[in-house]
């Protein structure tokens, strides 16, 4: 494990630098967008106002409040100070609601939707791919083109098709919302069942689109592994197929894990399309609205969360890789 420490420190160092730069970038990027967010708020305030002096006062009031009259450097330091205290600021587009409140109520829906969806599609896809590689023959010939085709239907396309067929036409599933339109959230069985029912269509639209990609990747890797020398050698040696298969798939899974990590990392922003089409509560839609409304604090906070999750996922995976596969460690230190 000696080389391991050096490997670990190297990775950790880059992790820190990436986070710092990402933080700065996350702050700057939204503020580079043209247009004045305060003016957007004034638009709402000013509808029906007859005098323009009144408007000007209100405008100045808000500019001061949001600090958009200070230079970017000043704003940045104020921002850093606040973040350290856990205060992400007040949202512009939903003023005076605090950003942390907005994120808090939305993030759980997104995570609960995305995390199982990604896991399930990963597991199912890899299983299918592995089976196809192992069984070959008919199963493979039929499965491959179908899964390629389905995975090529764009995400929104899949969502719309599912919505129209199962929601609008067959009426098997509800067409929108996170839970029943006539329910108030509580812990009753009825509510939980309603959440589960509303969960189905967005869940399956994400899973179906992602399975195909996973299956193809896993199949290629498995085939590659199945033809490797050590497999042939083991077979000649008389080792049972079952044992060989375990090793084969473990090796084949490695690149897939990287993919899983990346998907998990970006899951917070990834359900955007499903959320819009199914009117499902979540962070993706909040982010989009934030961008349209130039809500700097909200955008910065959400992208920060995404960033941190991706970085952590990456880091975790690289460490695990290093643990599992000694080759990687050695290659990295070359």
């Amino acid at each position: 494990m000696k080389g391991y420490r050096k490997f670990f420190l190297n990775k950790f160092f880059w992790l820190l630098i990436t986070i710092v730069f990402a933080f700065i970038l996350n702050f700057i990027l939204p503020r580079l967008m043209p247009g004045d967010p305060v003016a957007a708020i004034i638009a709402r305030v000013a509808q029906g106002m007859s005098s323009s002096t009144g408007m000007k006062d209100v405008y100045e009031q808000y500019t001061k409040l949001f600090g958009t009259d200070k230079t970017i450097i000043e704003q940045f330091f104020i921002y850093v100070k606040n973040v350290i205290h856990g205060n992400f600021g007040l949202s512009f587009s939903q003023y005076p609601r605090p950003v942390s409140d907005i994120i808090h109520s939305a993030i759980m829906w997104t995570v609960c939707l995305q995390f199982p969806a990604i896991l399930v599609s990963w597991i199912l896809g890899n299983l299918l791919g592995a089976l196809a590689a192992y069984i070959k023959k008919g199963f493979d010939k039929v499965l491959m083109p179908i899964s390629i085709f389905i995975s090529n239907i764009p995400a929104f396309g899949m969502a719309i098709i599912l919505l129209v067929i199962f929601g609008v036409e067959l009426k098997w599933f509800p067409t929108s919302g996170g839970y029943g339109f006539d329910l108030i959230p509580n812990m009753s069985l009825k509510f939980i069942w309603s959440v589960i029912v509303h969960y189905q269509l967005p869940f399956w639209s994400i899973v179906l689109t992602a399975i195909g990609g996973q299956a193809i990747g896993m199949r290629s890797m498995s085939i590659y592994e199945l033809n490797a020398d050590y497999v042939k050698y083991s077979r000649f040696m008389g080792i049972k197929d079952k044992t060989i298969v375990k090793y084969v798939f473990r090796n084949a899974m490695l690149p897939q894990i990287t993919g899983l990590a990346l998907s998990l990392g970006t899951m917070v922003g990834g359900a955007l399309v499903a959320e819009i089409i199914f009117s499902y509560p979540g962070l993706g839609y909040t982010l989009l609205n934030g961008i349209m409304g130039q809500d700097y604090p909200l955008i910065s906070a959400v992208t920060m969360i995404i960033t941190i999750m991706v970085v952590m996922a990456n880091f975790l995976i690289e460490i695990i890789y290093g643990l599992i596969d000694p080759r990687i460690r050695a290659a990295q230190l070359e």
Binding site: P34, G35, P37, A39, A40, R44, V45, A46, Q47, G48, M49, S50, S51, S52, G54, M55, K56, V58, Q61, Q94, Y95, P96, R97, D101, I102, H104, S105, A106, M108, V111, C112, F115, L119, V168, T175, S176, G177, G178, Y179, F181, D182, I184, P185, N186, M187, S188, K190, F191, I192, R250, I276, F278, S279, P281, Y285, N289, M292, I320, L323, I324
Partner: protein, 623 residues
């Protein structure tokens, strides 16, 4: 072996953490509703806690987009469509105004007030009485003091409503516990500057309880910003409904059975639905699907091809009018010419472009026929309601009104003015320079965008190059409201105009062409093209104080003449004040044309102005 174990252990830990977090998701959903959760438990104890009974709830869509932020009637940022809308047709389920405006007959009906209001002889102040039966949700009576204190607070904290009206309203005083005197700001000649706007205050702005306001002032230390940012979930109200539940996915109001309005001097009974609920949909499509499924009873959305819902799908859905335009047009989305753009100072060019646009296509494609055509209601400055249409002499302006798609006429006009295509490249020149303009509206406003496309298409038919551009709303509004407009990109710009209200059509005309707003910055009022006409300004100044009907008719007719001759802007379509589509699968007896109500109940989703009377007429569908 060890490595495999570590691998699976880490996966297990991660999944365990996430699943545990998911469990708390359903619990944390209740956290944002802290104040209301106690009410939830106590009020719904008799029914299945957690379900709104379908036959006691009226569902809305199209009003509330995004989460409700606060319940504060002093604030302008609450994004609380069901409870807070202090506008011409004020929304009165929770907070109430002294009078209710009825856009169908133009009259004001008393709500908190008792009887009509009166101007004094010199027209310098208005007096009205408060209904003795009116009381707040905490039992105390509504007094004239409340009205006075509300106005004083608006001025003191410079709220949007104070800022908008303080140039016209001087003070509001309580003569005694039930008499209110509204004193107008007087000009140098001792006459009220604008009596129309003073009157409008009575039906547009809420009366807020003095005691509660003082409580609010105490806890925010009388700081204006803090006062207006307060979430005010404890607000004291006089209306029939109040907050029951609110989160990211829906907002629900519940009826207060002690509502004063059940007194015989007012409605005589309680409004029929016990709950008013509004599910927050992400976009129009989700809302329409819910309407089709019967999950929404009243829809304020623009549903394209709404007639297909009952003609083709046979759903029990209907609008106020049986046939096109399905709703009562009230506002006039307008395309303004930038007076500073090259060539647009020429009347011939402006009028030719306006004449060439195919309005029928705009109305059938962009509005899917939910607007009257310009053949049915020839253009003027007035909306299609009979009240406004009666205010000017139709015959006098008949020659000036064009129906659109008049390519021949437009070409003739341009040729006569000497604006021809001299160099044969297909585009006309003015003083040797090719004419090209950019027609623009904000991105994402689909029916406006579709309309602008048609405007641009007209240009090529008359030899003027018109292209389109759709900047984001945040950029568009910043540019358009600050003169001068950029040199390119904003030659023909689309903006709204006023709808129906107690100051109309005067308010709309003022906002369209009054020189007060030309070439100003931070201009949210109108006349964004920078047009000025001295005669028009004089008439606009004079109208509020005119009382003789014949004089008024002459003035309005003259204004229409000026507008249709000079063409500083042109109306693109008629738009309803609010869209009003109803689904009769649970409730029935919604307002519809010929429903026999007296006074007529306007189709404003049963919440705005006099339309709230509709809530008292609803019945369940008996099957």
């Amino acid at each position: 072996m060890r490595k495999k174990f570590l691998f699976f252990l880490s996966i297990l830990i991660i999944s365990g953490v996430i699943l545990a977090a998911c469990q708390t998701a359903t619990e944390t959903e209740e956290v944002p509703t802290d104040v209301t959760s106690e009410e939830t438990v106590s009020e719904s104890s008799e029914e299945d806690a957690g379900t709104l009974p379908r036959d006691e709830t009226l569902y809305f869509n199209g009003q509330q987009w995004g989460t409700v932020v606060c319940w504060n009637p002093y604030s302008s940022n609450c994004n609380n469509a069901m409870a807070l809308a202090q506008q011409d047709n004020a929304r009165v389920p929770m907070f109430e105004t002294p009078y209710l405006y009825n856009m169908l007959d133009g009259k004001m009906y008393p709500l908190l007030a008792d009887g009509d209001y009166e101007w004094d002889d010199g027209m310098t102040q208005i007096t009205f009485k408060i209904n003795p039966a009116a009381h707040w949700s905490d039992g105390t009576p509504v007094t004239a003091d409340d009205v006075a204190y509300t106005w004083a607070s608006h001025v003191k904290y410079n709220t949007q409503f104070g800022a908008a009206n303080k140039d016209y309203i001087d003070t509001i005083e309580a003569l005694d516990a039930s008499t209110v005197v509204v004193k107008a700001v007087l000009g140098d000649d001792g006459k009220t500057i604008n009596p129309l706007l003073v009157q409008a205050y009575l039906s547009s702005n809420y009366v807020i309880q003095k005691a509660w306001t003082q409580k609010l002032e105490e806890r925010t230390g009388e700081d204006p910003a803090a006062l207006m940012a307060d979430t005010a979930e404890d607000a004291v109200y006089s209306g029939p409904y109040h907050l029951f539940f609110s989160d990211d996915t829906k907002v629900v109001l519940v009826r207060d059975d002690n509502y004063w309005g059940q007194d015989s001097s007012m409605w005589g009974k309680l409004p029929v639905p016990k709950y008013l609920a509004h599910v927050i949909y992400k976009d129009n499509a989700a809302g329409t699907t819910a309407l089709q499924a019967g999950e929404v009873d009243v829809s304020q959305q623009f549903n394209s091809n709404v007639q297909d819902l009952w003609l083709k799908d046979n759903l029990p859905i209907s609008t106020y009018l049986e046939d096109a335009p399905y709703n009562i047009g009230a506002s006039l989305p307008t395309a303004y010419f930038n007076m500073d753009s090259y060539g647009l100072d020429q009347v011939a060019i402006r009028k030719a472009i306006a004449m060439a646009v195919d309005y029928d296509t705009i109305i059938s494609n962009a509005m899917t026929n939910q607007s009257a055509t310009f053949t049915q209601v020839p253009r003027s400055l007035m909306n299609p309601t009979p009240g406004e249409q009666a205010l000017f002499d139709h015959d006098a302006v008949a020659d000036l009104q064009w129906a659109g798609n008049d390519i021949e006429g437009a070409n003739a006009l341009l040729d006569e003015a000497g604006i021809v295509d001299a160099d044969g490249d297909g585009w006309r020149e003015y003083d040797g320079v090719n004419l090209h303009y950019a027609a623009t509206c904000p991105n994402g406003w689909s029916d406006w965008q579709a309309a602008i496309e048609v405007v641009a298409a007209a240009g090529s038919k008359i030899g003027i190059d018109i292209t389109t551009s759709y900047p984001e709303w945040s950029v568009y509004q910043t540019v358009v409201t600050n003169w001068p407009l950029p040199e390119t990109g904003y030659d023909i710009l689309m903006m709204w105009s006023d709808g129906a209200g107690p100051t109309q059509p005067w308010g709309r005309i003022r906002h369209l062409i009054s020189g007060e707003f030309a070439e100003t910055t931070n201009n949210w009022n109108g006349n964004w093209g920078g047009y000025a006409n001295a005669e028009a300004d004089e008439l606009i100044q004079a109208i509020p104080t005119m009382t003789d009907e014949a004089d008024l008719k002459e003035a309005y007719t003259r204004l229409v003449e000026i507008y249709l001759t000079e063409v500083p802007s042109f109306t693109l379509m008629y738009r309803p004040q609010a869209f009003h589509t109803v689904n009769e699968s649970v409730w029935t007896n919604f307002p519809h044309q010929g429903d026999g109500t007296n006074p007529l109940v306007p189709p404003l989703d049963l919440t705005d102005g006099w339309s709230i009377a509709g809530l008292y007429n609803l019945t369940l569908v008996n099957e």
